[in-house]
């Protein structure tokens, strides 16, 4: 083509005022609002079949969702498993996580848990056993249970919120920590509220994007 086309050149064309942010949301040119990432818990009920964990983890890596932890285990129904996923994403990202999860065929239902949901994590903490009495005292303070003892080591088990476990580890560190293993949180909604067994995948979809930010509580 020879450039014989008429009409104004690029720089002479009018540019509209409005703009969108990097999340595709129309913004006031002055404000430039972006959603900040927040940490939240998503619970998914899935078919208990081979490959479903890799379906979910593969989805997270290929879509570059920022996943903090993922736990999975059986439920009251032996054909179903529950996944508890902690993600840190801006609101549009969290919405995408939910929608993309729902698209996986073995996924039955998906839900972002409310901030008052019960969240528990398990940790095993192995410390040097030079001062067994003091280890027991610290364990007591955090409601931890001793699960193994040897002349050189003491291992305790502790369940609770992430903060509580962080605090316990901090306290145990005075004895010299040898090893730690943590599960990442698993969670259930409170009371009679269903955690993620509600409507089938397609029904919860047309709602508007949540705009207000929710913080998930980490305490008991």
């Amino acid at each position: 083509m020879t450039g014989e086309l008429e009409g104004p050149a690029p720089e002479e064309r009018p540019t509209p005022e409005g703009k969108r942010n990097s999340q595709g949301i129309r913004v006031d040119p002055e404000v430039e609002a972006e959603h900040e990432p927040r940490r939240t818990v998503i619970s998914a009920l899935v078919e208990h079949e081979p490959g479903v964990l890799s379906d979910v983890s593969g989805l997270f890596s290929r879509r570059q969702f920022n996943i903090e932890s993922l736990t999975v285990g059986p439920t009251e129904d032996e054909e179903r498993a529950r996944m508890t996923i902690v993600v840190e994403e801006p609101d549009p990202g969290i919405e995408q996580v939910e929608k993309q999860l729902r698209k996986l065929v073995p996924v039955i239902s998906v839900r972002e848990l409310p901030s008052d949901a019960m969240r528990r994590e398990l940790a095993l903490i192995k410390v040097n056993a030079t001062r067994p009495d003091q280890v027991a005292a610290v364990a007591d303070m955090y409601g931890a249970k001793s699960v193994d003892a040897s002349p050189e080591t003491a291992t305790v088990e502790i369940t609770g919120s992430r903060q509580k476990i962080d605090a316990a580890i901090e306290s145990f560190s005075q004895f010299g920590i040898r090893e730690i293993s943590r599960t990442g949180p698993t969670a259930l909604a409170r009371g009679t509220e269903d955690t993620a067994a509600g409507a089938p995948a397609a029904e919860q979809t047309s709602r508007q994007q949540p705009t207000q930010t929710q913080t998930t509580s980490d305490d008991d």
Binding site: M1, G3, A9, P16, R20, Q23, G24, R102, V105, Q209
Partner: protein, 596 residues
Amino acid sequence: MSERAAPVTHHEAQDSESTDADSSPDAELETDATPVTTGAESVVRALENAGVEYAFGVQGGAIMPVYHVLYGSEITHVTMAHEQGAAHAADAYGIVAGEPGVCLATSGPGATNLVTGIADADMDSDPMLALTGQVPTEFVGNDAFQETDTTGVTKPVTKDNTFSTDADAVGDDVGEAFALAGTGRPGPTLVDLPKDVTNGETDREPSEPRTPDTYEVQEAADPEIVRAAARRIEEAKKPVMLVGGGVIKGDATEEVREFAIEHEIPVVTTMPGLGAFPEDHELSMEMAGMHGTGYANMAITHCDTLIGVGTRFDDRLTGGIETFAPEAEVIHVDIDPAEISKNIHAEYPLVGDAATVVSQLAEEVDSSPQATKWRAQCQQWKSDYSMAYEAPEDEPVKPQFVVEAIDEATSDRAIVTTGVGQHQMWACQYWTFTEPRTWVSSHGLGAMGYGLPAAIGARLAADDDQEVICFDGDGSFLMTIQELAVAVRENMDITVAVLNNEYIGMVRQWQDAFFEGRHAASEYGWCPEFDKLAEAFGARGFRIDDYDDVAETIEAALAYDGPSVIDVHIDPREDVYPMVPSGGDNGQFALTEDQL
């Protein structure tokens, strides 16, 4: 509209064949055929139950049991030269027929050769079912001969895939995969078939092909949001309808056309949406995006209300997100909730089937937008940025001229397939698309080599009186040229026009624009003579060197009742414009290299 455009639900397909089939999941089908005795028979029975007419594939050790049964079946198998060709052919068949195309491959290299075609179908939401052989279950995981973790490899590029483990269930797996491929948002599905499973004994007839219980599709959008969107449309001063491939896949062209024409709303299409709205209609602004028309991109950039139907707002369409339709409130109709607000936030999210939701909107909109000035502005842009090119007689042939000449020489219902590159863009820009399911191209993946196998698949799905034209580039054509052998063997009436610039031209254009004109690996020192090559395959070969040859050669190639190849020697320096540089502002498209 295509005669095949009626939506196929597999339940219907099933019902028509066995009227008194029980609706319970395990109902055995009533068929006249002999009872199945092996897993492979169950696989083929499932395909027959689904109404499959054609399958494309290549033989091999692990898939042999299935072929053994296919041999005696009514299904016509087309043996392709390469599995990539099988997948593209099945994909194109799916686009034109509106029901899943089927491809087969053996394990390992057969399966990996399918991957490009599967990924292509995934990006473009084309209905397709891939069946792959697998080593016997007891060898799986041992790195056996020709073993590949096919479900693992294809997981990210399939709508769903299944590793079949049981001869009793394998037919159901295939039926379910077929149903899934064509239901809701279409896409490719795959069933991996270990040889012991297909060889295994079973007397279980596959049940009715149906989607799994956990898969649900929302047909109609939330009436409340429909009402709100309708009010927005009534008040719009500068409305645009943005019509994507989902409109064609969802058989919503009639609804969309009626709606746009009734309310006099200018229509822009995406590349996969070509044919959804007649490009010769006054309201058509044609295609938007990187190589879309200047007027389409101006309309998108300046509209205040954007009604996107069946589009996923791909970056080749939007350019930079920040500057895409910066003043528009967006109404987004899509059957896949995950597409809503993925790239462009929708103020009015309408999840549902395109035809249903556009009808809902049509019901709800009481008055047309007051947009006389806006329409005049759109017409002004159409003349300001008209798609002109120069074609001096004494210079090499311009590709645009060739596209227009073939368009003129064929009917409105002719089907166009392409490779990927400049030739693909000239086909988009200079062919006037007026009918759905007449444009078959690799959009989201941009897979060179798509054109010829796609023409083969399209040919089998097309009506006899529809011409099938493939525009290819010299580079793209070379990637799957071996499929000419198939076209000749099956005596398929297709015409390939190779827009030969002896460059991998699109790359050369970008090098000229953005890489100091250094033609790294984009220039062919020697390019085969495609007309002679075609003759060697047994097809008819033609060559065009200047304008005098054009009309006559096209006529002869179209008249030939079999595959023909026209090697069109075009101006090697011709570039594709307008162009929005990657991630750029659609309203700032360049008309020449100087403006980039």
